[in-house]
Amino acid sequence: MIDTLLLWLFAGTALVAAAMMLVLRHPMRVALALAATMLSLAGVYALLGVHAIAIFQVLIYVGAVMVFMVYAIMLLDVRDRSFTGRFSWLLVPGVVAAVAFLAVLAHGVWRGLPEPVASAAGAHSAVSSFGIQRFSLEFLNEYWLHFELVSVLLVAAVVAALAVLEVGRRNRG
């Protein structure tokens, strides 16, 4: 009972905060709205019983990505008044495209879903043993190659970021 209530609460918070991201003007407020969305999604994950993902959501997304984003906002001059409106000229086509995309998703994907996924609205007590122990055992037993490839990707990303900064420094100097 209370689980279902909390699930609806977190889902509603995520939805409202995501909608606020589109209309807020200041980038810092947008960042705060995005952090609220991520925290509510972490709550949803925890309520679903996937605790490992909820912890990583808070640690990586809210703790690392959003802090990095907030640093970038503080570093740049966001009180830039060079543009007049917050929306580009693509506002009307964008809304039409998003609505059409949503309709296609609702029509096409929903039909293709298997029955338990489509009908289980709040049946989150079905699997209770999806804890962090089982997750890590399966992760490191079956997906260890992907784990190693991820480290290669991260090294490549770090090298690429350093290369971008080095190009900028050379252009300036």
Binding site: L41, V50, I60, V78, A98, L105, E138
Partner: protein, 95 residues
């Protein structure tokens, strides 16, 4: 319900990338799209009781981190060059 929530979140993120003009806001809307995909993956993983979806979510985390780590220096360089955050003004490549 959660699948539809994730679809709506993805559409909102897509809309934000299309309509907003600020580079940083567009980046954050891309993060929102990744979050929406994560939500659908977690829902599938939990309802089919397999670990594959959760592992995929972990890989998406890594991809999001790498993306932001490369995108923010690029944004810094762009802003250093022109001193505006409005992506509509970066039309140097327009033919």
């Amino acid at each position: 319900m959660l699948i539809s929530l994730s679809a709506v979140l993805f559409a909102l993120g897509l809309l934000g990338v299309i309509v907003r003009r600020n580079v940083l806001v567009m980046l954050m809307c891309m993060e929102l799209m990744l979050n929406a995909v994560n939500l659908s993956l977690v829902t599938f993983a939990q309802q089919t009781a397999t670990a594959a979806g959760a592992v995929l979510v972990l890989l998406v985390f890594v991809v999001a981190t790498a993306e932001i780590a490369i995108a923010i220096p690029i944004v810094l360089l762009l802003v250093k060059r022109k001193d505006v955050l409005d992506l509509g003004l970066y039309n140097d490549l327009k033919g």
